[in-house]
């Protein structure tokens, strides 16, 4: 899938020319190259040097065993030491099946001798070519951040110049040594790792990206660079699904005040892991956090504006610290998520949290859509209730459950169909409407009114003339239809929230007008983005 980096490379270019200073992981290329050249398909075959078109020994792949190969330090340094015109913008180069991305950064050298010389450095990530645009963009962002931090440190105290000096002198030392003594196959990069803190920093960036996707380094013990690779962070609980920043943005754009957040880690652990200089608003939000609260309630409780809470929630989701849910309440209906994979690891982890309860049996109960109130027994103890809520929270955290919402769509009875039914009704002396428990409108009236309406344009728009029941219910239906709530895009909870009406009222309405109001049970699109088989 190409989310892991193949290599991280640091290149500089100044008045003394360009040089590859550091690369990680590094390996002795010489041995491999020898292998490549001696490897022939048939030991007896002749290499035909005459045939120019057919026998070309150039490799078409620069990746072997997940490592970058076939490109020497000199080649890479000429490639990455870009012309000044290409500095301070995205650098993207693809060579065969490797994609290099970086942000070439210019700094004014603090060297005492040359006053006005500028130096270019480029931290380049080598990725697999099939890495998607959004992955490349994230790596570019990281390279840019590191570049900015290094430039600042260079300005402040010449950190970069010092580090470059260490690296260059180590390179020279090894090069000089290998001429004289024969027994040193030692790579200069090992020594550089021991001597240079920047090199160690870059190494930790690389290994953090490969292991957790979260980078947190302090450059020169002064500037902190924090970065999160969303595609990696969000994969920890799901294989085969890439959560791009675009997906997170889409989820956040469809966030509503009635949504809630579900922290994926314990609130106390999260508070401890926060930086000292983190926003006090975030701390307050986490202190007030409860999966039963909507974002609006959270905003009120933590004394923040709703917009601020939205942003903090977005932040938490991006860093995979939280996920978006509908706040837990008795009427929530849950079902097994289609991408739930019950691994032994999950089973063990579940029985650790809830001894004596079998995950499979719990999951099995949700094979049919089940609401919390259905699971609650009026005779059950309070601790059983809290246990149930805890179990549901655990299942939601692991994306094993999916919440279903009821969506309503207004679809008027077909006009043609209605006419035939009307004529039938007149002939049969029994109104069709009486069957539908919506009396008081005589068929003939309806027919007349219908013939007035424009059949083509407004076939599926609401026409209040269809029903002539002067009741509160009809007024409510009229109002909700006009506001577009029955266009199929709103679920019951949303209508309840926006119109401040009770569930029972809505259910009553749905029942009375079930002929024209069709319901379907479906997941909330914003939340479903995090489920692999449901997205898009």
């Amino acid at each position: 899938m190409g989310i892991h980096p193949l290599s991280i490379i640091l290149v500089k270019s100044d008045s003394k020319g360009d040089r590859l200073l550091f690369r990680y992981p590094h390996m002795t290329n010489h041995v491999r190259d020898l292998n490549q050249y001696t490897k022939r398909k048939n030991p007896y075959s002749l290499t035909n040097t005459e045939d120019l078109l057919q026998s070309l020994p150039f490799p078409t792949s620069n990746i072997s065993n997940g490592n970058l190969t076939g490109l020497t330090d000199e080649v890479l340094s000429t490639l990455f030491a870009v012309k000044p015109e290409l500095c301070e913008q995205k650098f993207e180069l693809k060579v065969n099946d490797v994609r290099f991305v970086g942000h070439p950064t210019l700094v004014l050298s603090r060297g005492l001798k040359e006053v006005n010389s500028s130096m270019l450095f480029n931290i380049v990530f080598a990725l697999q070519a099939q890495a998607s645009h959004s992955i490349v963009k994230c790596y570019y962002d990281l390279s840019k951040r590191l570049g900015i931090a290094l430039r600042h440190e260079e300005k402040r105290c010449g950190f970069l110049t010092d580090e470059i000096k260490i690296m260059v002198s180590t390179h020279d030392e090894i090069a000089g040594r290998s001429e004289g003594e024969s027994d040193c196959d030692e790579s200069p990069y090992e020594l550089i790792l021991q001597r240079s803190s920047l090199a160690r920093g870059l190494k930790s960036v690389f290994s953090n990206l490969s292991s957790s996707g979260i980078v947190n380094i302090i450059i020169n013990k002064w500037i902190q660079v924090r970065f999160c690779l969303p595609q990696k962070v969000h994969q920890s609980h799901k294989k085969g699904l890439l959560i791009d920043p675009e997906i997170i943005d889409r989820c956040l754009n469809s966030l509503r005040p009635y949504h809630g957040i579900l922290l994926l880690t314990e609130p106390l652990d999260l508070l401890e892991s926060l930086q000292i200089d983190c926003s006090p608003a975030l701390k307050r939000l986490i202190q007030m956090y409860n999966p039963l609260k909507s974002l609006q309630t959270l905003a009120a409780d933590s004394d923040l504006t709703l917009a601020q809470v939205f942003q903090l929630a977005g932040h938490l989701v991006y860093w995979a610290k939280a996920t978006i849910i509908y706040p837990l309440c008795e009427s929530n209906v849950y079902v097994v998520s289609p991408d739930a994979i019950l691994t032994n690891q999950l089973l063990d982890s579940f029985s650790e949290h809830f001894p004596g309860v079998c995950l499979l049996q719990v999951i099995n109960d949700f094979s049919l859509p089940t609401s919390i109130s259905q699971k609650l027994n009026p005779l059950s103890q309070p601790q059983q209730q809290t246990q149930l809520v805890k179990i549901i929270i655990w299942l939601l955290k692991n994306h094993l459950l999916l919440q279903l919402h009821t969506y309503v769509r207004y679809i008027p009875t077909d006009i043609q169909d209605q006419e035939t039914r009307d004529t039938n009704a007149m002939e049969g002396s029994e109104s069709i409407w009486s069957l539908n428990e919506t009396p008081k409108g005589t068929p003939t009236e309806i027919k007349e009114e219908l013939s007035l309406t424009d059949k083509e344009d407004t076939l599926y728009d609401y026409q209040s003339e269809d029903y002539d029941i002067p009741s509160n219910d009809r007024k409510l239906l009229d109002k909700l239809c006009r506001l577009g709530y029955f266009d199929g895009d709103y679920h019951l909870e949303e209508i309840m929230y926006l119109e401040n009406i009770r569930r029972s009222q809505l259910l009553q309405l749905l029942d009375k007008f079930r002929d024209v109001l069709m319901t379907s049970e479906c997941e909330d699109a914003a939340i479903a983005l995090f489920y692999s088989r449901l997205g898009t």
């Binding site: 000429t78 913008q89 060579v95 499979l360 049996q361 199929g488 479906c522």
Partner: protein, 396 residues
């Protein structure tokens, strides 16, 4: 086989056209320069100088596909070096480059650039086509032809003297997943419109049995073709977008709606197609609201059988099997599968130990898969599960 591609796929490809093709070489005095460009001066000299190191690179990078992305352009090249004493520096370096928009995908042009470079290289070796004179009008004609033909038709035939080369842009799609026994292939395009004779013999033998109801194992049996061959045929058809795979239809199946269903009442075109597809008779189309009611009633715990009993689609002029097919193809509904799981640590009865079917009760095989691999009917297996309290059925 490669010549088949769907119209909509071609539409998509049109989005990344070639903006410019240029030919750059290493001049023995002036260094790297563009000697021929169509359209003229699309890549200015300044821009070229900035990136010349990627166009005429070091010897180690010869014959590598190199793509450099700039702010406004993406340049794709394949640097080539011809060693010969007759050249000024004992070698002739050139690179034929395609230029696209910065955000375009260019991976599918890579083989084309490579092949065309080889063609030019052959011309150069044969009769010094590139280096003989400074007059590049013939080359310019050639580049213009390639650009026009590839952008319009996705293919181009180059002829120069006695040599000919055929270039074709092949769409790159992700590798389709392996086809399983219990899956049902169904045509996405009209069956009558595509020519049978352009497919290979095995596919031709398999095609008549693809009707949207037969599953792969059954097709293999009826067409008298080896199972794995059928699978690779179907996989190939999936790659080219001719068929897609849907779950097998049974009245015991459970389906759930997807958020896409909400678009159906607003999308008139989709609606018309849906009505035409799912109606029993073309002369008496079904009512849309009945179709919509059928779809929206699909949910967990409601099998097709329940739905048919409740709504009676036959009276509503709906063919429920085709209704389900349409919903699956368009993604309006999805199948809810059932997975039998044996509780871990449960004391195994004698039957559980002896019956080979128990090895499938791990939660990773759906009932369809188990039926297909054991040859037992769903009812038989459900009966076994019903009798053993240690086996749970998880719907997801």
């Amino acid at each position: 086989m490669a010549s088949t591609s769907l119209e909509n796929v071609e539409d998509k490809e049109q989005e990344d056209p070639i903006r410019c093709i240029f030919f750059a070489e290493f001049h023995h005095i002036a260094g790297p320069k563009i000697t021929c460009q169509v359209p003229d001066n699309y890549i200015s000299k300044d821009i070229f100088d900035n990136v010349s190191v990627y166009i005429i690179p070091k010897a180690q990078l010869q014959r590598s596909t190199i793509t450099i992305t700039l702010k406004d352009y993406k340049i794709l090249g394949f640097p080539v070096k011809i060693d010969d004493k007759k050249y000024a520096r004992n070698a002739f370096y050139f690179n034929l480059c395609f230029v696209c928009d910065a955000n375009a995908r260019t991976v599918h042009y890579e083989p084309v650039v490579k092949k065309m470079s080889d063609f030019l290289m052959a011309l150069e070796v044969e009769n010094c086509f590139l280096s003989a004179s400074d007059d590049k009008t013939r080359l310019a004609e050639m580049l213009a032809q390639v650009m026009q033909d590839l952008n319009l038709h996705k293919m181009c035939t180059l002829t120069e003297g006695t040599m000919t080369s055929h270039l074709k842009v092949v769409r790159l799609a992700p590798e389709p997943k392996p086809v399983l026994d219990h899956q049902v292939p169904i045509f996405l395009e009209d069956r009558d419109t595509f020519q049978n004779d352009q497919w290979d013999l095995t596919t031709q033998q398999v095609l008549p049995y693809i009707d949207g109801f037969n599953h792969v194992a059954r097709i293999a049996a009826e067409a008298d073709v080896e199972n794995n061959l059928v699978k690779s045929c179907v996989q190939n058809l999936v790659y080219y977008g001719v068929v897609t795979l849907i779950p097998i239809f049974q009245y015991s199946n459970v389906y759930a709606v997807t958020p896409k269903l909400r678009k159906l009442p607003d999308d008139i075109k989709l609606q018309e197609r849906c009505i035409a597809y799912a109606s029993k008779l073309a002369r008496q189309p079904a009512h849309f609201r009945d179709i919509y009611r059928m779809y929206s009633s699909m949910t967990y715990g409601v099998s097709m059988k329940d739905l048919c009993q409740r709504l009676n689609p036959q009276n509503l002029r709906i063919n429920e099997r085709r209704l389900v097919q349409f919903g699956l193809i368009e993604g309006l509904i999805r199948r809810v599968y059932n997975y039998p799981v044996l509780l871990p640590g449960a004391s195994c009865s004698e039957e559980a130990k002896n019956n080979p079917i128990y090895k499938y009760f791990t939660g990773t095989y759906s009932l369809d898969e188990i039926c297909c691999s054991t040859g037992q009917s769903a009812a038989q297996i459900e009966d076994i599960i019903e009798r053993d309290p240690n086996v749970l059925m998880i719907w997801k």
